[in-house]
Structures are given as C-alpha cells and as structure tokens.
Amino acid sequence: MRNAAIETHGLTKVYGSGHTEVVAMRDASLCVAHGQCVALIGPSGAGKSTFLTAVGLINPPTAGRILIGGRLVMEGPRALTNPRTFRRKHIGYISQKANLIRFLTARENVQVAMELNGESSRAARARALELLEYLGVRERAAGYPPELSGGEQQRVAVARALANRPSVILADEPTAALDGPRGRQVMELFRRVAHEQGAAVIVVTHDHRALDVFDTIYEMEDGVIRSGAAELSAASTFSGGKARP
C-alpha cells in the first residue's frame, strides 16, 4: 500500500511449545495508511491484543514482519530498532485498563510522556493541560490516579497517548470504562486525530455502537485477521450505521 503507516506481514505468535503450544496469532497481515482509523473486532481470545502489542513493539511476534512508516522495525522476534525509543517517538498506546503512573498527577502523567521525548517542561505542561481540557478532565489535572474515576483515568491515558503527536495510535478497548457518549467522543477523537494529523489508528473494541466512526473494520478470529472489506457489511450490521470505504 502506498503511504502505509503500518504494515504487518505474516505475524504469528506462539506461546509455549510441544503439547502446551498455543498459537495466539496466525499469519496476521494488515496495512493501515496514514490518516486511516481502523477498528479491530472479534471475540475474546481472538488474538486482538496480541496483535496490538506486537505492532506496539511491546510483545514481539514469533514470526512475521512489522513495518512502521515504511521502515522495517521487527523481523520475527528480533527488533531492528530500539523499541522503547521508537515507541516514545512514533506510537501512542492506550490499554484496556487505564494505566497511569500512581505517583504522578493527571497532568504529570501526560506531561511526563512529552518530557521523556525531549519536550521542555513548560511546553509539555501547557500541552498536557490543553489535552486534558479537550478530554474534559482539566479540573482533575491535580488529582492522583486513585482519586479519579475509571472514566477520568481512561481519558488521561488517552491524553497521554496523544501527547507526542504520534504517527501511530494503538488503543486496546479504550472505551471500556467510559459511558456511551464519552466513549463515542473518544472514538471520534481518534478519527479526528487520524484525519487531521495523518496518524494511523488501530482500535480494538467490543463497542459496536461506535463502529460507524471507523474507516475500516477488521475482524479477528482464532488469531487470524480477515480482510477489512469483507467486514464492512458486518460492521454496518453491528452498528446499524454506514460503513466507510
């Protein structure tokens, strides 16, 4: 694909060996362009999170290749770049459970991601507050994670993922802790980030009410990704909305 932000070829992940061997992901190939917002759906245990952590350079695959921005970054289990540095610069990752650093406030949780990327403290602080404002948790900026509700924590985590204006955003069930309108707002935010900033977004979700915001929907089952085009009609059925080309 031209202008591909994320390309995976034959990603396979095998846990254990012999009679305890479990294939979590099998020959998963996917291509997401810059500016494209993609949903990955499927039943629990289908391998969606495994796929996402592989693309996020968190959990290397057993086999296959990952290219991000046209650059080969992972070949089999071997990283061809420093995964942490690459993730810091290019990937925003949001996990299912809001993962915030407990000893930092909401604002500092967002700010730290930018400071780790070399942003000045002042600029990082200003942008952190902007993002929190945008996500509706500005007034909770001074709160520590245990003082925030699940939804507030998740919005702070989203703000952190967006902080460094990454070219790739990977979100694993980001709206699980949010109510319907707030969940939809976050999904629409992902789409806007994709379209306005040219980021490639992959969202693993079970929330079929918001599937209409995605450009493409892929389904994953038994570790295999089905093509997006094949899923459009299914997505339309799930959401009751119109699938995007």
Partner: protein
C-alpha cells in the same frame, strides 16, 4: 520532571518513616565510630595533656597505665638531678569506687605533686586549680559532681574546687585530681580496726624473736604507727613524670635514666602506644568490628528497603517503559531515591546523635574526618544498595503494565 522527587513526595509519610528508621540505625553506626574515637582519645589524653616527655617507672613494668608500677618517692629527686631535666614530678594513679547518694561512683584518682603541680595544666571548664595542700579536689564533669560539693573519701572530706570536661581514663572513668598526699591517703586508707590489727600482728611477730624480747622499746615501736618504723618503706608512687629543658636531646636523657638498674623509661609516644596497643586494644578492635558489621547491616537494610520500594512501583516502572522511558530514566529514578534516602538518613542520624550522644555512658567524639568518611561510606552503600533494585527494574518488561 524529577520522577524520584515526585515519588518521594507522593509517598512522603512512608519515606519519612523509612528515613527515620535508617537514620536511627546510622546514628548507632555514627555513635559507634564516635565511641571508637572517644576510646582512643580518652586512652591517650592524659599522656597528651600532662605534656611531659619521659615517664620513669618500675624496672621491667609497662606502667603506670598499662600495668602497676611502684617506685620510691625519692626517685623524683634522682631524676630531677639528671642534666637536661627541667622538672620531675611524682605521679600517683589508682581507681576507686565509692557510694554517692546510694549509687556507685567510680573514678580514677590522680595525685598532683603539690606545690609544684596545682593542676594549672588541666583544661578547667569551671572553678580553679588547687589552692591548698589538702582537702581540695578537681573533678571531671562526667562524675556528676558539682562545684563546691563535698565528698567523703577515706577519713576526710574533700571539696570540689574545679571541674574539667572529658578527662577520663581508658576505661571511661572520670578523673579526680587531688594532691599527692591526699591521693595516697585515699589509696592507703585503712579502718582503725585494721590499723590496730596490723600493729598487733607486728608486735606478735616481734615477740617471737629474741631481739624483740630483749629490747622492750622495739616491741613498743612495732605496735606503733607504721610511718615511724624505719624498717618499713614509705608509701610509694606510680611513676615520675619528667619534663626536659628546651633543646635537650630526649634520647640522651632517656638513655641516662634507662641505665639505672631499678627503673624503665618511656617517651610520651611509647606510653600512648602502650595504651592503644595494650589497654584499649581489644575494646578498640571490638568497636571497629562492630562498626564494620553495623555498616554492613545498614547496607543490607538499605538494599532491602530500596528493593521493596522498587518492587512496589514495578508496575509504574513497566508503564514508564511502555511510554518509552529509557533505562537511564529508570536508573536515575531508583538511584536518586537511594541517594536521597542515604543523605536524609545521614542527616537524621547526625541530628538525633546531637541529642542522644551526651547521654551515652562513654564519650562520643565526632571528628570532621570521621563524619566525612561515614558520609562517603553511606553514599557508596546507597549506590551499591540501589543496584539490586535497579537490576530488578531493568528486567521488568513493558507488557507487565498491561497485565491485571
């Protein structure tokens, strides 16, 4: 953003308690070093402060501190007559233990050779030197005596006219300075019944010999005061302190006196060495060993504390890695906390020590060099102790942040 500071601030209550605990432990380490230094200082301070060059003692002994030495008082005049000797003084030294207000009072009594020596050389913190030949004394503050206090010793009552600070013997007993005559009166004090029994025993021995039976005055003499018997020697002194005239060759004077068959001569350095290598050697080594052990234990405890602190935030560390923090960021987080813990613990130790050390039974001396060395050791131990936590933190994978 300083992550270590943020973490410490967020967990400030726990961190403060940990620091207090570590500080208390370090206070003991610091105190042990201070006691070690106090012991060595106390051991040699009398030799240093008396300021004489030569000590003349009983032949073959290593007196007067390391072992008992007995020399006749006339030795003072013999030594004073040696060319190059500016001053010779008698030295009497013994330990007493009496009851004062129902509690034991243990002190080292040191005789001053009145009127030559009135104790002017003593570092008085209150009062004055001795002003009369009898019944006055200078006491060290560690004994708990006050200026003007009257203390019965033997058959007499002595008044405290001066106070010193930090003047104690190698065993940590405070000094009492009396005139030579008074100190010997205290040392050789006998009860009236004891004196009567001794005189009667002498008379009984005299009656068993022909001379005693044929010379009635001899029997009378034998039953009289011991001091009037020419056959009995007078009370002896422990040593003769010898100060040399300026410019005199110490070795030459030493060699002259050493040539006498009844005495041994030691320089100030010899005495100091005998005290350090003999009298306090075991205590010194014991304290040194304790100090090393306590420092090691402190290091292990610090390592455990830092390891626990790291384990508690392993999820946060994994999360930091997930968002791209480099290993250096993680190392800094743990090491800065370790150094902060060590530095604050050290400060707490010092502050607590300032309050606690004056109540220690032994003198605690904190020298700048020792404090600096301990600071260096604590810093080193902090860094080394953090390595276990760092090792654990560097091994944690970012995907740990995604679990549970």
């Amino acid at each position: 953003m300083n992550l270590a500071r943020k973490d410490v601030w967020h967990n400030r209550g726990r961190f403060a308690l940990t620091t207090l605990g570590l500080g208390t432990l370090l206070m003991i380490v610091m105190g042990m070093g201070g006691i070690y230094r106090g012991l060595t200082t106390e051991a040699t301070q009398l030799v240093d402060k008396v300021g004489v060059e030569l000590w003349v003692v009983q032949r073959g002994t290593r007196g007067p501190f390391a072992e008992i030495s007995r020399v006749p008082k006339t030795l003072v005049d013999r030594v004073a007559a040696v060319p190059g000797v500016a001053e010779a003084r008698a030295f009497v030294y013994h330990t007493i233990q009496r009851l004062r207000a129902g509690k034991p009072l243990r002190a080292s009594v040191l005789g001053l050779d009145w009127p030559t020596d009135k104790g002017e050389w003593l570092p008085l913190s209150a009062g004055r030197p001795l002003a009369q030949a009898h019944f006055e004394m200078i006491a060290d503050r560690s004994l708990g005596l006050t200026l003007g206090e009257r203390l019965p010793l033997g058959k007499e009552i002595y008044t405290v006219v001066g106070l010193t600070s930090g003047m104690s013997d190698p065993a940590g007993n405070g000094f009492l300075f009396l005139t030579l005559a008074d100190s010997q009166a205290v040392q050789f004090d006998q009860s009236p019944e004891g004196i009567r029994l001794e005189r009667q025993a002498r008379r009984a021995r005299a009656e068993q010999i022909d001379l005693g039976n044929t010379q009635p005055t001899m029997l009378e003499r034998a039953a009289g005061p011991g001091s009037q018997l020419p056959a009995l020697p007078p009370n002896q002194i422990s040593a003769v302190m010898t100060r040399l005239a300026p410019g005199v060759n110490e070795a030459a004077v030493k060699a002259t006196i050493d040539g006498w068959a009844d005495v041994s001569v030691y320089t100030r350095a010899d005495e100091a060495k005998m005290l350090l290598m003999g009298v306090v050697e075991r205590s010194r080594r014991q304290l040194g060993l304790f100090r090393v052990l306590l420092t090691t234990v402190s290091g292990i405890i610090m390592a455990l504390i830092l390891y626990t602190l790291t384990m508690d935030k392993l999820h946060d560390i994994a999360l930091l890695k997930l968002i791209g923090a480099s290993n250096w960021v993680i190392v800094k987080l743990i090491m800065q906390q370790a150094i902060a813990l060590g530095a604050l613990g050290y400060a707490v130790a010092w502050l607590l020590g300032q309050k606690a050390y004056p109540y220690f039974p032994r003198r605690v001396i904190l020298t700048p060099d020792d404090l600096l060395m301990l600071a260096g050791v604590v810093l080193g131990v902090s860094v080394v102790a953090s390595l276990v936590g760092i090792w654990k933190a560097l091994r944690v994978q970012p995907n740990v942040a995604l679990l549970g």
